[in-house]
């Protein structure tokens, strides 16, 4: 079990923790260190007389430290992990001390409790009433939004750039009031169309049509197949019980964390962790929402491999998933990937035919070469077919440097004909971009 330094540093909650963690990755700061096949532990000199006791569960990725820091993982955890990544041979003690054994035992008990089925007593009548009230609110919100869309279409979108932030914020808030947070997010996205860019009109119309499709689907939901109903309700903003979901059987596989995208939305950090099941060839999106000051439940680092059981949210095109349980593991070789861009395009066609309103998704594609053509970067497949790399792609130089003009199997994210590589296999090692 081991992680690269980059993987460890992505677990840090902020830049200050990364910096402090690096400072503590220094033998002189640690009074004692040890490791067995599951846990790494150490005692770090602090400002007090008693050193801080720090431990890391490498199988289930968890950190614990006796320091008073509210950050998670704290700088001691990061420092210990970095030291272990660099110099495993100095972790000479193999017998875990009592404070480590106690923690591991507690974690095992907690895991057992989580997997036990919970009996929940539900007042069904009250629940039905709440659901009905919500449906009514959502219906009203949908009607209001449909009127807005029709007004926009009737009068033309030419004046949309003049509307301003408050207009879209106002409408989004009305959707939140209507208990349709998904629609609120779609309205915000519409308002965030880059009106200063050439071609904004096409982007705006696409997003407008997405909203129209969702609300039309919602208005006719009873006539739709069950899974499509679930997709539409998800887009509206109806959630599904994660506890109930976790009780279902999931897909067991060795998953590679292809990449992580982090955004800030209303003071909440949203982590999009893209996973790929090596044996099942299944892709998954695991979301994590972090409020400032709270530690992360999931410790996923791009490039990490884990043996895990994932449960997928029901959908025509399953992507979002929850991790039921995970154990970190070593890398394994890829088995099946998309051979070329035609295969990707065929999948895109299939997915669009099932559900026209879609977000970007990942693909692992065989042997792509980054090439420059007419001042733009493209990815060429093994059959000389090309898809464009997104204009604002920041890792082009790292990608080009890894490639050297040779093809690489890459993990890309995108849709239609615009993609961005998030990782590539270089000399059989997955490198995050």
């Amino acid at each position: 079990m081991s992680f690269t330094e980059d993987q460890i540093l992505t677990l840090a909650p902020d830049e200050a923790s990364k910096k402090s963690g690096r400072d503590l990755a220094n033998l002189s700061k640690w009074v004692s260190m040890g490791a067995d096949d599951k846990v790494v532990w150490g005692e770090c000199k602090g400002s007090g007389s008693k050193p801080y006791q720090t431990q890391i569960d490498y199988n289930q990725i968890g950190f614990k430290c006796s320091c008073p820091s509210r950050k998670f993982p704290c700088k001691h955890g990061i420092g210990l992990a970095l030291l272990f990544a660099r110099q495993q041979d100095v972790f000479t003690s193999k017998k875990a001390p009592a404070w480590v054994v106690e923690w591991i035992q507690k974690r095992a008990v907690q895991e057992e409790k989580k997997s036990e089925k919970k009996e929940v007593i539900v007042d069904e009548a009250a629940q039905a009433k709440r659901q009905q009230a919500r449906e009514q609110k959502v219906n009203a919100g949908v009607e209001e939004l449909q009127l807005l869309i029709k007004d926009i279409v009737r009068n033309g979108i030419i004046h949309m750039p003049e509307k301003g932030y408050l207009f879209w914020e106002g409408m989004a808030k009305r959707m939140v009031d209507a208990q349709a947070p998904g629609l609120a997010a779609m309205v915000k996205t519409l308002g965030q169309t880059p009106f200063y860019k050439e071609g904004w009109q096409s982007t705006f119309v696409e997003e407008l049509l997405n909203i129209h499709l969702i609300i039309s689907g919602y208005k006719n939901i009873s006539s739709l197949p069950e899974l499509l109903q679930k997709d539409i309700r998800t887009w509206i903003g109806f959630t599904q019980s994660q506890d109930a979901l976790k009780e279902q059987n999931g897909l067991q596989d060795t998953w590679l964390v292809l990449g992580k995208q982090i955004t800030e939305e209303d003071n909440i950090t949203v982590e999009r962790n893209w996973l790929y099941g090596i044996k099942s060839n299944q892709y998954a999106l695991v979301l994590q929402f972090l409020v400032r000051g709270q530690g992360a439940q999931l410790m996923l680092s791009p490039g990490m491999y884990l043996e895990a059981e994932l449960v997928f949210f029901p959908s025509l095109t399953p992507m979002r998933a929850l991790i039921k349980q995970q154990i970190n593991t070593g890398a394994i070789a890829l088995r099946q990937v998309y051979e070329d861009w035609n295969a990707v395009a065929e999948m895109e066609t299939t997915l669009c035919a099932q559900m026209p309103v879609r977000s970007e998704r990942p693909y692992v594609v065989h042997q792509l070469t980054p090439v420059l053509h007419q001042q733009k970067w493209w990815l060429k497949d093994a059959f000389n077919r090309f898809m464009q790399i997104k204009d604002d792609y920041k890792s082009i130089w790292k990608l080009l440097s890894l490639s050297g003009g040779e093809p690489l199997t890459m993990a890309v994210i995108g849709k239609e004909n615009n993609y961005e590589p998030i990782g590539a296999w270089h000399h059989n090692q997955y490198k995050v971009l």
């Binding site: 009068n155 033309g156 119309v205 696409e206 039309s216 861009w341 066609t349 440097s401 890894l402």
Partner: protein, 498 residues
């Protein structure tokens, strides 16, 4: 399909109140659905939204990859050198996070010394470091191998090496490139360099002439003098000044001869009185002659003194002494350097000693410089640094690091002229000064000069702690910072030696 979509967007722009979708532009496969939509929805907005959604999804489903003909592709050549090991790359990663050019140069030097190269994923970051810090460029070129050279073909900012021939650069390059070519040729063969400049002289404008002329300082010799003398009648003041500046460095040029003539006439030795074989020392009288060649004032000598301790006449003499080779004194007085300097060791003449130091530096006379620093232990001669070896420089610097007045200049000169790590003793002396002045020498000072700071200073850091409470506190933080940087330096060495 593009036409259909554009039709949708144009209609959306104008609004359904003013424009309808042109159904003839729809793909055949959608025409029937379009008709059905018209029949099912009674208002124009719903018809438009329905049809537009159909076209939108038809477009999404129909995406195929591009087939581009004639794409120019190149590949990087295979590497000839081995990559630096994982340990070394781990340190490199930390050095990059630290954003320390000093540590990066240390790492690159180790990498170059062991004839290794960096892994491809690290190349873009260190290329960017070299864009910001030109001093790293040659090292980066050495350590990025064939991959780096190939990447540079895509990014002009990374073209540190010269891809053109010298001939091409001289004929068509930028001024900076032409300067480098001339400098290199002058180093190799000064006559060839002179001929090269002379061959293009008449075609160049004044600004270029003066910049290229300055490069003749490399390999400057007596053979250059006749041509440089002709440039004193050029139209451009810049060119004349550049030529004069070069001629002032040549002992036998007309300018220096002018200075020398006036100075010679200003120097007299008064013999000391002797009685019964015992006498007082000879003394040196410095006095301008009654009439002075006015030409010297046109050739860079100021008439009026700008220093309190010199009268106008004395200041003229001082300037002349700065501009005349010190060896001339040996011819005039038939004495060696030490004895000549002894004549300046009195209250009246001591103030002229720095002028002799400047002259020794201008005419690159290390013997005279050594004699002067021996004779005048109270003044710091920064010009000495460029002529001393590292060991001599350190010995000289240590003498002046204890003085508050001279220590800052000494430190600045050490940073400019040092090419290797300082000794522990020198570093300790520097830190004993800088530790007391945290506002002047904060962490960025140690960050920028870490490549000079030896690891051996570690045990001495505590002993540099100043007395006053505030400086003591900040020094404590600074020590932690220095130790972190030194740790990275040590890890670099270990990374390559393992």
């Amino acid at each position: 399909m593009i036409e259909s979509w554009n039709n949708i967007v144009h209609t959306a722009m104008m609004g359904t109140g003013k424009r309808q979708i042109n159904e003839t532009s729809l793909p055949e496969g959608l025409k029937q659905s379009a008709q059905a939509l018209k029949e099912n929805f009674d208002n124009q907005e719903e018809q438009f939204l329905g049809l537009a959604s159909l076209v939108f999804n038809y477009r999404q489903c129909g995406v195929i990859p591009f087939a581009i003909q004639e794409v120019k592709e190149t590949k990087a050549e295979a590497e000839e050198q081995a990559y630096a090991n994982e340990l070394a790359h781990q340190v490199l990663h930390d050095i990059i996070q630290e954003d320390s050019d000093g540590l990066l140069s240390v790492w690159l030097k180790w990498c170059s010394h062991y004839k290794k190269i960096v892994l491809p994923e690290a190349i873009p970051v260190i290329m960017e470091s070299a864009v910001k810090n030109k001093a790293l460029q040659q090292l980066v070129l050495q350590c990025t191998g064939k991959r780096g050279a190939w990447l540079a073909t895509f990014n002009d900012r990374w073209r540190f090496g010269d891809t053109q021939t010298e001939e091409e650069m001289w004929q068509t390059g930028t001024l900076e490139q032409r300067r480098k070519v001339l400098q290199r040729i002058r180093k190799e063969d000064s006559g060839k360099g002179l001929a090269l400049l002379q061959s293009v002289w008449s075609q160049e404008n004044a600004a270029t002439k003066s910049e290229l002329l300055k490069q003749l300082v490399t390999g400057l010799n007596q053979e250059d003098v006749p041509w440089l003398e002709t440039l004193l009648s050029e139209k451009s003041e810049k060119v004349k000044e550049a030529a004069s500046d070069l001629l002032r460095r040549m002992p036998h040029s007309s300018i220096v001869q002018q200075y020398s003539k006036v100075l010679r006439a200003s120097v007299k030795v008064k013999e000391g009185k002797k009685i019964l074989g015992i006498g007082s020392k000879d003394s040196l009288i410095l006095e301008l002659p009654p009439s002075v060649d006015e030409a010297i004032f046109k050739a860079g000598v100021e008439k009026l003194s700008n220093q309190k301790k010199f009268s106008d006449q004395e200041y003229i003499i001082y300037q002349l002494m700065e501009k005349v080779p010190p060896r001339y004194w040996q011819d005039w007085l038939q004495l060696d350097a030490d004895n000549i300097l002894a004549l300046f060791k009195n209250d009246r003449n001591r103030k002229y000693l720095p002028a002799l130091g400047s002259a020794a530096s201008l005419f690159a006379d290390p013997d005279w410089l050594s004699a002067i620093i021996k004779a005048d232990e109270n003044n710091f001669y920064p010009d000495v640094f460029s002529l001393l070896t590292q060991k001599e420089r350190e010995k000289y610097a240590l003498t002046f690091l204890t003085s508050d007045e001279t220590a800052p200049k000494v430190i600045a000169e050490l940073i400019t002229h040092s090419t290797a790590e300082w000794s522990v003793a020198l570093t300790k002396a520097i830190f004993q000064f800088t530790a007391k002045r945290p506002y002047q020498y904060h962490q960025s000072f140690y960050h920028q000069n870490i490549h000079f700071i030896p690891y051996g200073i570690n045990p001495e850091l505590e002993s540099c702690t100043p007395q006053d409470e505030y400086s003591k506190f900040t020094w404590g933080k600074t020590v932690e910072y220095i130790q972190r940087l030194l740790g990275l330096k040590l890890r670099t060495a270990r990374g390559f030696e393992s």
